[in-house]
Symmetry: C2
Subunit: 258 residues, 2 copies
Amino acid sequence: MCLPDQLTIGLLGGTGPQGRGLALRMALAGHRVLLGSRDPRRAAGIVDDLLAGRDLPIEGVANAEAAEAADVVFLVFPYAGQAEVLPGLAAAIGAKVVVDVINPLGWDTHGPYLLQVPEGSAAEQAAALLPEARVVAAFHHAAPKLLADPERQVETDVLVASDDPEAKGLVLELADQIPGCRGVDAGPLRLARHLEGFTAVIVGINRRHKIHAGLRISRLGDDKRRRLNAELRPARGPGGLKERGGSPPVDRDREEGP
Amino acid sequence: MCLPDQLTIGLLGGTGPQGRGLALRMALAGHRVLLGSRDPRRAAGIVDDLLAGRDLPIEGVANAEAAEAADVVFLVFPYAGQAEVLPGLAAAIGAKVVVDVINPLGWDTHGPYLLQVPEGSAAEQAAALLPEARVVAAFHHAAPKLLADPERQVETDVLVASDDPEAKGLVLELADQIPGCRGVDAGPLRLARHLEGFTAVIVGINRRHKIHAGLRISRLGDDKRRRLNAELRPARGPGGLKERGGSPPVDRDREEGP
């Protein structure tokens, strides 16, 4: 896999707050974005609102078209939609890199909780439904409200879990392109359940404190992080993904001696 | 429950790295600490090593004695020990505040993973075995290596889950007494599984990056956090727990408008 400077990103089920925010940030990072919906007219209308006159390469299309034309596919359905919709898109997705952003959460009088997913996590469910795809779990803790406002930093580390090192390396790089985000290798796909589950904790904290929280891994130095992340990427020419200012907070920049 | 300035803290199964580190930090915060083990002679030897000539109120005792004499009981057994040992200590623990610090983790060629706990989490297992106790899950992400070194800040937010608001308020306050830690209300006890599970993610990050990571909730302002935490505590006299410098990092101190 050779990563060009500009990727085509397909956001399936991208009309919700998370999809709209990621569409905006990926377009600002220089990628072409296809925001997919079952109803392409609805997708087009949402893209018009999202652009609000800005000149960014985001188009509203049908999910199948986004899946077909994309280099990298993001799954931003509500959880209930994933198992229903993915089988019909499997052929179009094929062996692409698939980023599952879905948090399978329920809500009752005690607040948010993680739904039981037979496969262990939404991301592992996607992997089961898309056996050829290179599935990555990521972006669970990026607040939609912050993603949606290009004037603000999205203050979170983006924890990235996958069994495919190259796909993981690509997604870590995409995370670094969002100002305020840092891509952090969170291990194999089987740990995706803990990324999804932790969202229930964050959503509860948001509700109690009326904030849009994210999370930071403390004591994770940036030089070492970037070096290790880069080792996951395939070798490639000078046209790598450009850094867009996803700078870490200064006081997180300490690291432990060996 | 009226919190005196000095509590007696009993650490059951406290001879491991987490128990030793918490013993040191709780003693430095001004509390009396009973470090418990099945073998009180072993506990006494470990306390001698831990004190290294320092004048701190830590004693090595049998688990039963620590459970009996403590105001607050910490469970720092290895996970496998909890179900075996707790039933014999239930009478001594009674209706006390119990802080479950246990991370039920396994390790294989793919790294750390969360063990299946029939009750959902180690903390919920403790609650099932100690039906009278006021169970709180906390301190999962405090690195033992940092806890053990009084010269260093323990750079983590301490996420605290419980169904008992007063007990939760007390433990949030204990967390704030460790320099570098911030106590954060993480919701009801049913979310303890996600605190325990997230430790698998952190342990993997530690292994890959050779660090002692913790986590911070971003955008969580300290004034609001302290105010909400204080609302969980019972009203009490002037002898509240003293602040010992658990200061937050400066750039995390922003908060969202209402």
